[in-house]
Amino acid sequence: SQQGEEDPQALSIQEGENATMNCSYKTSINNLQWYRQNSGRGLVHLILIRSNEREKHSGRLRVTLDTSKKSSSLLITASRAADTASYFCATESQGGSEKLVFGKGTKLTVNP
């Protein structure tokens, strides 16, 4: 079964606006990763944040992690039409299990 939920399930914004997606999870984790998936394509790794980190930046991406609330957020600033995709968070649980557990994803549409 899937680890948790992304919120919102779908988000539609105008080019240039910021997009914020949230992710909640259930178990203690080693790290949390965000992936992007364009329609009909594979997943592309965006950013990883470790359990002892609270915030991380990569280009126009900003990720936060709150382990006390078991939640993370992904902020995409100055969005572009090319950012249109589904975004998934994935967690690596503690305990040595070598697998990522994905949420259900947020479908982002950036209108030109």
Partner: protein, 113 residues
């Protein structure tokens, strides 16, 4: 190759037919993962290999699903006696070691009719 390659990209199978899905990981990657992604859902873990050893197959939904990686490189996911609920995109991923920054293939979209 430059990335993870999966074949075929699309497969239509009649119910009851056996199918085999192939994954060519990035050269030198030790870890290989298979995931199943139903329409509108996130990927769900099926199985994990480290070299040729299948270390975790806890996500395989039934004994109709079988995966192998005999030489520690190419992997095959086999589904016997396919059923309609097997319709999904099957994603393969590889990494240098472990789940940190796994690289995904384009997937195989399986439709069982």
């Amino acid at each position: 190759g430059a990335g993870v390659s999966q074949s075929p990209r699309y497969k239509v199978a009649k119910r009851g037919q056996d199918v085999a899905l192939r994954c060519d990981p990035i050269s030198g990657h030790v870890s290989l993962f298979w995931y199943q992604q139903a329409l509108g859902q996130g990927p769900e873990f099926l199985t994990y290999f480290q070299n040729e050893a299948q270390l975790d197959k806890s996500g395989l939904p039934s004994d109709r699903f079988f995966a192998e990686r005999p030489e520690g490189s190419v992997s095959t996911l086999k589904i016997q006696r396919t059923q309609q609920e097997d319709s999904a995109v099957y994603l393969c991923a590889s990494s240098v070691l472990g789940v940190t920054e796994a690289f995904f293939g384009q997937g195989t979209r399986l439709t069982v009719v």
